[in-house]
Amino acid sequence: MTRARWSLGLVGVAVGCYGGWLLLTRQTAADLVSAGQWLVGGVVLHDLVLAPLVIVLVAVAGRLTPRSLRAPAAVLLVVVGSVTLLAVPVLGGFGRRADNPSLLDRDYTTGWLLLVGVLVVLAAVGSAVQLWRRVDGADPGR
């Protein structure tokens, strides 16, 4: 490692340690246990649940989907999957309160369905255009 990299690395360690110190010195033990659960829980949920689930999904869908549909299906998986994960708090509406109608004030299920619908149509149009181009370009008679 060059000197610049060592310096950068040490800056990283120092900044990270400052974060650790902030975390450990500003809260009660019970708060820290809860924060620890969320920290570990996030990694466990990703590494042992979400990632394997995606692998299984891709394997199963790969068998069931015709070759020409696999690319648009993969695009949809990435876009819809990540946006849906991001929308779990609004779709679940867990924070909704009777005294504050301005919070979570949309019909999120309909919105989500609409969004997925638009993306499916776009993916279908996109792959149709690509298919048409390929057929067109491969035609030696032109």
Partner: protein, 384 residues
């Protein structure tokens, strides 16, 4: 087939390549950098004593930084997921046998562990907190702030460790395979370019679907935004009067606003406040949760009230709410804001008397301030 732990060889896709990882990583780093800097701005703006005074101009500054904060966070979700997908096989690398190599490996994995855990934590708790859902014991503010430092530190260390590989990967063609694992030989369903474009698309959709909170013209297409930016008098509410427990005290005819300086106290009835010279200002209210909205506020200039009790310019002003508890019951307005002509004790909003959820009978509104410090249901105003 007997069950065994997966190995990197079990992931043959050519898409799980440093060529993809590094390119997604650059944008992930940018989104985290924006989140970190805008987060620091927000925490600094909330300090009661600021070594360098936070500026009152532009009035929409905090609105922009806090909007950027939540927008970058939304964009980071697909970026992080794709990046983790490309490096997932590395989770199953067998540890080296030699003690020295093992220690190096453990240190690197430890730092990556801190990075992944804090990154997932920041995005997850940020998204959950925005919806006023608090399924945890810890203080969101303290923990989100501390782990932001931890994440950025781990990120800088990670970049330092990986720098030669990052440079090689970014310098080479996207389809170059010299940095790939030997077992990553299978062509994917998408090309690498296709996967990258899909990732940018996902980040874009995540932004458009949620940004209506802070970007007005996206309101109609932001189907997953926490708020439609509507509410009483056309403005959303973060904490209602009922939640703050002020329904009775705020509507009590005996209500008086106490204005205080150096032992001198004035108790002003709402009618007296209304009889004073009124000023109208268009100022945004920008919540730490990322939503923001412009509104027309009418009320008494804070300066006018301060003059009544002989409080000099250049000092901070403390505000107390009718609220009996809660971390935002009081706030301190630094001198630069207290002296600003646009800073009002507002009585009216968008042409009507303040609705109770917006702070009736009187609330503080100042330019370029975090919404949570724009104290509602004012009970006392004290000049230092």
């Amino acid at each position: 087939m007997s069950p065994r732990a997966p190995a990197p060889e079990d992931f043959p896709s050519r898409l799980r390549s440093p060529a993809v990882t590094s390119r997604v990583g650059v944008w992930l780093g940018i989104t985290f950098g924006v989140c970190f800097l805008t987060g620091l701005v927000s925490h600094y703006a909330q300090l009661p004593q600021q070594p360098v005074p936070f500026p009152a101009n532009p009035a929409w500054g905090y609105r922009v930084t806090q909007g950027l904060h939540v927008i970058s966070g939304a964009a980071a979700v697909p970026l992080l997921l794709v990046k983790l997908w490309t490096v997932y096989p590395r989770l199953f690398l067998r540890p080296p046998r030699r003690a020295r190599a093992l220690m190096v490996e453990a240190a690197e994995r430890g730092s990556v562990g801190v990075l992944v855990a804090s990154a997932v934590f920041l995005l997850a708790t940020g998204l959950v907190n925005m919806t006023a859902w608090y399924p945890w014991e810890f203080s969101f503010r303290t923990t989100h702030y501390a782990l932001a430092w931890a994440a950025v530190g781990a990120l800088v260390l990670h970049v330092a460790v990986k720098l030669p590989r990052i440079r090689l990967a970014l310098g080479a063609d996207l389809d170059d395979r010299s940095l790939d694992r030997a077992s990553a030989t299978e062509p994917g369903v998408l090309t690498r370019r296709g996967l990258l474009r899909t990732t940018w698309l996902a980040a874009g959709v995540a932004v458009v679907a949620t940004a209506g909170n802070s970007v007005g013209w996206l309101r109609d297409v932001s189907v997953l935004a926490v708020r439609s930016s509507d509410g009483p008098q056309g403005l959303p509410v973060t904490k209602s009067a009922a939640a703050a427990g002020v329904l009775e005290t705020a509507t009590d005819p005996a209500y008086r606003l106490e204005v205080e300086h150096a032992g001198r106290t004035l108790a002003l009835a709402l009618e007296e406040l209304r009889a004073m010279p009124q000023t109208t200002e268009t100022l945004p209210i920008a919540c730490v949760e990322g939503w923001s909205e412009n509104a027309e506020w009418t009320g008494v200039q804070l300066r006018t009230l301060m003059d009544l009790v002989g409080a000099p310019a250049g000092s901070a002003v403390g505000f107390e709410s009718l609220q009996q508890s809660g971390p935002f019951r009081t706030s301190v307005l630094p001198a630069g804001f207290a002296d600003d002509d646009r800073t009002l004790v507002a009585l009216r909003l968008n042409g009507e008397p303040l609705s109770i959820d917006h702070g009736y009978p009187a609330r503080l509104i100042a330019p370029n301030r975090p919404g949570v410090r724009q104290t509602k249901w004012l009970a006392r105003v004290v000049s230092a």
